[in-house]
C-alpha cells in the first residue's frame, strides 16, 4: 500500500534524521535498516527510495554512485538547515515582501517597557 503524503512527510523527517546522524554516505538498504532499528514499522525498499528521491528533488539530499548502488548524504547539515531557517525567519529587511507573517516582532527596550505597562493595566483586577 502506498503511504499517504502525510506519512511521507514524517518519513522524510525520519530519513533526514538518519542521514544527519550518519558519519558517512549511506545506501538505501542502510537507511532502511537504520529506520527499522529506530522503531519504524517495516518499510519497503522502494518506499525508502521514493523518500530519498523526494528529498533529492528538494535539494536536501545528494547522492553519489558507488559501484552499482547509490550512496546518499544530507546536502546540508542540520545546523546549516536550522541557520538558513532562522535567517529567513528573522530577516526583517524592509523592502522585501513578507513571505512569512509574524505574530509579533521583537521591539526595543523602551517600547518593551511601554508594552509591559499596558499589560499591567489590562490585567489589573477590576477591569473587565
Amino acid at each position: 500500500m502506498a503511504p499517504s503524503s502525510r506519512s511521507l512527510g514524517s518519513l522524510e523527517r525520519s530519513v533526514m534524521d538518519v542521514l544527519w546522524r550518519a558519519s558517512s554516505a549511506l545506501t538505501v538498504r542502510e537507511v532502511q535498516e537504520q529506520l527499522e532499528a529506530g522503531g519504524s514499522a517495516d518499510l519497503a525498499y522502494t518506499t525508502v527510495m521514493t523518500v530519498l528521491d523526494r528529498l533529492g528533488a528538494k535539494e536536501m539530499v545528494s547522492r553519489e554512485r558507488d559501484g552499482r548502488a547509490f550512496r546518499y548524504t544530507a546536502a546540508l547539515s542540520r545546523e546549516a538547515a536550522t541557520a538558513e531557517l532562522l535567517n529567513a525567519t528573522l530577516d526583517s529587511s524592509g523592502d522585501r515582501t513578507a513571505a512569512l507573517v509574524h505574530f509579533a516582532r521583537t521591539v526595543d527596550p523602551a517600547e518593551a517597557a511601554a508594552l509591559r505597562a499596558a499589560l499591567e493595566e489590562i490585567e489589573a483586577p477590576g477591569t473587565p
Binding site: 502525510r6 512527510g9 514524517s10 522524510e12 523527517r13 533526514m16 528538494k58 536536501m60 542540520r78 538547515a81 536550522t82 538558513e84 531557517l85 532562522l86 529567513a88 525567519t89 528573522l90 526583517s92 524592509g94 522585501r96 515582501t97 513578507a98 513571505a99 512569512l100 507573517v101 509574524h102 505574530f103 509579533a104 516582532r105 521583537t106 521591539v107 526595543d108 527596550p109 517600547e111 518593551a112 511601554a114 508594552l115 509591559r116 499596558a118 499589560l119 493595566e121 489590562i122 490585567e123
Partner: protein, 298 residues
C-alpha cells in the same frame, strides 16, 4: 485640462493623502473596512495616473498647435503613467514568484526540522530558544510555526491566542492582502510613494487576526502573548522596523465602543467610495465622451 487634473489627483493620492491618513487613528477601529479604505486609495491613485497618461496621449496626437511647455509637461505626466504601469506588472510577477519560492523552501525546511504539535496538523514546533511565531501562508499546506522558546514563554491560553491569531492569517489569506499592497508599493517609483499604505495594511491585518484570537481566548491571553513575544530578549538582528505591538496592546487596553467602530467602518466606506467614484464620474467619464467624439470626427 484632464491630464493635469488626473495627474494632480493621482499624485495627491500617492503622496500627501496617505501620509496624512496614516496619522489618523480612526481607520484602525474597524480594520476590515480600513483595508478597503487603503486599497481604494491605492487603486484610485493608479487609475488616476493611468487616466492622466491616456488623456495626455490623446491630447498630444490631437492638439494642432501645442505650446512647447505644455508638451514637456504632458510628456512628463505620460512618462509617470507608463512607468507606474510597467513597474506594476513587473512587481506583480516579481512579488509572486519571489514569495512563493521563499515560502516553498521555508516550508520544506520547517517540515524537516520541526515537530508536529499535538493534534494540530499545520503547526510545527522548532527546537529553538529565540521566541518566534509566524505562519507560512499558502493555498495548499500552510504552516503555523512556533519555536520551543516561544512555547516555553507562554501559558496555555496565551499559546492558544498565538495559534488562533496565526491560523486566522492562514484561513483568511491575509497574505494576499499584503502581497497586493506589496505590488502597489513597488509599482510607484520611490519618490512618488510613501510607506503608509503598506505599513497600515500590515497593521490592519494584525488587528483582524487579533480579533479572531480574542473571540476564542478573550483579551488578556492575547495581551500576554503579544508582550511575551514582542518584549522578550532581543535576538541580534531581529529588530523589526516599526512595530505594531503597542498599537495592538493599546487597543486591548482601551477597547472602542461598538458605536465608534461602526462610525469608523462607515467613514472608511465613504472615503473609499469618494476617492474611487468622484474622479471617475467627474473627470474620467467626461473625458471618455470627449475622446470618443474627437476620434470619431477625425
Amino acid at each position: 485640462m484632464t491630464p493635469l487634473l488626473l495627474g494632480a489627483i493621482g499624485l495627491a493620492l500617492a503622496l500627501p493623502v496617505p501620509a496624512l491618513l496614516s496619522h489618523a487613528a480612526w481607520p484602525r477601529l474597524a480594520p476590515a473596512a480600513g483595508i478597503v479604505l487603503w486599497q481604494s486609495l491605492a487603486l484610485a491613485a493608479v487609475l488616476a495616473i493611468s487616466g492622466a497618461a491616456l488623456s495626455t496621449a490623446l491630447w498630444l496626437v490631437t492638439d494642432p498647435d501645442p505650446a512647447p511647455w505644455r508638451v514637456v509637461l504632458h510628456v512628463l505626466i505620460m512618462g509617470i503613467g507608463v512607468l507606474v504601469w510597467a513597474r506594476f506588472w513587473w512587481a506583480a510577477w516579481h512579488v509572486w514568484s519571489e514569495t512563493s519560492q521563499r515560502r516553498a523552501r521555508h516550508r520544506e525546511l520547517v517540515d524537516l526540522l520541526g515537530e508536529p504539535h499535538g493534534a494540530l496538523p499545520a503547526v510545527r514546533v522548532l527546537a529553538e530558544q529565540t521566541p518566534v511565531a509566524y505562519c507560512i501562508p499558502r493555498l495548499r499546506d500552510p504552516r503555523v510555526v512556533i519555536s520551543s522558546g516561544a512555547v516555553a514563554s507562554l501559558d496555555d491560553e496565551a499559546l492558544q491566542a498565538v495559534l488562533e491569531h496565526e491560523r486566522s492569517h492562514v484561513r483568511t489569506r491575509h497574505d494576499l492582502v499584503l502581497e497586493a499592497f506589496g505590488v502597489l508599493h513597488r509599482a510607484f517609483p520611490r519618490v512618488l510613494r510613501t510607506d503608509a499604505p503598506l505599513r497600515q495594511s500590515q497593521v490592519m491585518v494584525e488587528l483582524m487576526a487579533d480579533d479572531a484570537a480574542r473571540r476564542i481566548t478573550g483579551d488578556r491571553p492575547l495581551a500576554r502573548a503579544i508582550v511575551a513575544l514582542a518584549g522578550g530578549s532581543t535576538p541580534a538582528g531581529a529588530l523589526g522596523a516599526g512595530s505594531d505591538a503597542l498599537v495592538r496592546l493599546e487597543r486591548l487596553r482601551d477597547p472602542a465602543s461598538p458605536r465608534a467602530r461602526r462610525a469608523s467602518a462607515v467613514a472608511s466606506g465613504v472615503v473609499s467610495a469618494v476617492v474611487l467614484v468622484v474622479p471617475t464620474v467627474f473627470v474620467a467619464v467626461p473625458w471618455l465622451y470627449h475622446a470618443v467624439e474627437v476620434l470619431l470626427t477625425r
